[in-house]
């Protein structure tokens, strides 16, 4: 039995410490997904916390039919969709790196500093990131979620369609629309000399 299985069993038996260890293994992925989905730090934090709380409440329903992460991702998708239905705040723009602190001032400051350091090393980097975020902000939450599931999570059209209850064709169309927005923002549709030279930005390696 792997350590993850052991942790799941212990968590199912009610050990919150075991559940916290499980959460530690996947919290980055969940937070990243939430961060790209809703873009606000506060929202990402709330959303990922909600995912973990729901996962704990539903832990007894985990039947070992899929991997733990697949099961967790299902909960995450439902949480995201409900979050959107529940009147979530709009995708904030521009990126809030040094906005008002509400969770924990020190943490936010650290986050802002680290994010700033990671993002804005060069002006070009920032420009590209902003353009990508702008393109994503112009999509619907559902389109954004589909794009993230496909592009970031590497799920197939079939898997996404099953999770969202739509056809693979709809998923493909949605991804295609998001890509068109991205191309438009990045200027990839224009003449080669006009669009952002990815190599020059230092992003592409």
């Amino acid at each position: 039995m792997s350590s993850e299985d052991e942790l799941i069993r212990r968590a199912q038996a009610g050990e919150t410490d075991a559940f916290c260890s499980l959460a530690q293994a996947y919290e980055r992925r969940i937070y990243s997904l939430a961060f790209h989905y809703c873009r606000g730090r506060q929202d990402s934090e709330d959303l990922s916390q909600e995912v973990w709380l729901k996962a704990y409440a539903a832990l007894a329903t985990f039947r070992w039919e899929s991997s733990f992460y697949t099961w967790l991702r299902k909960i995450t998708i439902n949480c995201f969709l409900n979050h959107h239905r529940g009147g979530a705040r709009a995708f904030p723009w521009p990126i809030q790196l040094a906005g008002s602190a509400t969770i924990d001032d020190r943490a936010i400051e650290n986050h802002a500093r680290s994010a700033a350091a990671g993002l804005e090393t060069t002006l070009e980097n920032r420009l590209v990131v902003e353009k990508v975020m702008q393109a994503l902000s112009e999509t619907t939450p559902r389109q954004r979620l589909i794009f993230l599931l496909k592009h970031q999570e590497g799920m197939t059209y079939e898997e996404i369609s099953k999770e969202l209850g739509c056809s693979p064709g709809t998923v493909k169309k949605s991804v295609s629309r998001t890509l068109a927005k991205l191309r438009e923002q990045l200027g990839v549709n224009e003449e080669p000399e006009n669009y952002i030279s990815c190599a020059a930005t230092g992003i592409l390696r």
Partner: protein, 227 residues
């Protein structure tokens, strides 16, 4: 033969690894011969690559995660401790089990349900009849008490008076009414006279005590109906 429009339809699938290896090989072969499609494919790949890198860059740095984990842990601990779904005591679990059993519905085929109901009915009927059989000899007979009760008897006297009304053909309404009334009076007179002449005593109400209840029977008809 290569058709740019058809190939471009597959380019997104190819970029997102949604085509089988054999098909991917074929599309790539076509791209090799068509610079326009090749350019489109490169643009798609670049877009996805830049997006992926940008999304990764937007994420917080390494020093964010320990704090994030601490916050998450604190939040989980504070929210999870009162829930404790698996640490319920035995009595609570028994109670939950009983409640679940009481509220759970089970699908039963209609014939089986009917048969069960009939069996239960028969069982109760048999139980009841046996109980009655056991009860009857053992229980002593109740003492018979005789009481004289005065029951008001209704004096009833039926007075039958046959009234013949001679009907004629079609008449005008006013005239007919007048004639009917005249005929009725005449008939009453004849009936009274008939009873007097027949030797029988005329009907009288002597000795008749009126009661609260009065029954009046009216036989409506004509002499033609009597025939």
């Amino acid at each position: 033969m290569h058709k740019c429009r058809l190939t471009k339809n597959h380019l997104l699938d190819l970029t997102l690894d949604e085509v089988a290896p054999a098909e991917a090989k074929q599309i790539l072969q076509e791209l090799h011969d068509c610079p326009a499609c090749q350019e489109e494919y490169a643009a798609l790949r670049n877009t996805l690559h830049v997006s992926a890198q940008a999304l990764r860059s937007a994420l917080p740095n390494e020093d964010f995660w320990p704090d994030h984990h601490t916050r998450m842990q604190v939040s989980l601990m504070s929210n999870l401790s009162p829930v404790q779904p698996m640490r319920s005591s035995l009595s609570v679990r028994v109670w939950i089990g009983l409640r679940k059993m009481a509220t759970t519905s089970v699908r039963v085929p209609v014939p089986a349900a009917l048969a069960t109901m009939v069996l239960i009915g028969i069982f109760f009927f048999a139980l009841r009849s046996r109980g009655q059989a056991n009860l009857s000899p053992s229980t002593p007979l109740a003492a018979v008490e005789t009481r004289t009760v005065q029951v008001p008897v209704i004096h009833e006297k039926v007075v039958t008076q046959v009234v013949y009304v001679e009907k004629k053909g079609r008449r005008s309404r006013g005239k007919a009414d007048q004639q009917d009334r005249a005929g009725l009076n005449a008939a009453n007179t004849i009936a009274r006279a008939g009873s007097d002449t027949s030797g029988k005593p005329a009907m009288s109400l002597v000795g008749f005590k009126p009661t609260d209840h009065l029954r009046l029977t009216i036989i409506k008809g004509s002499y033609q109906d009597e025939k």
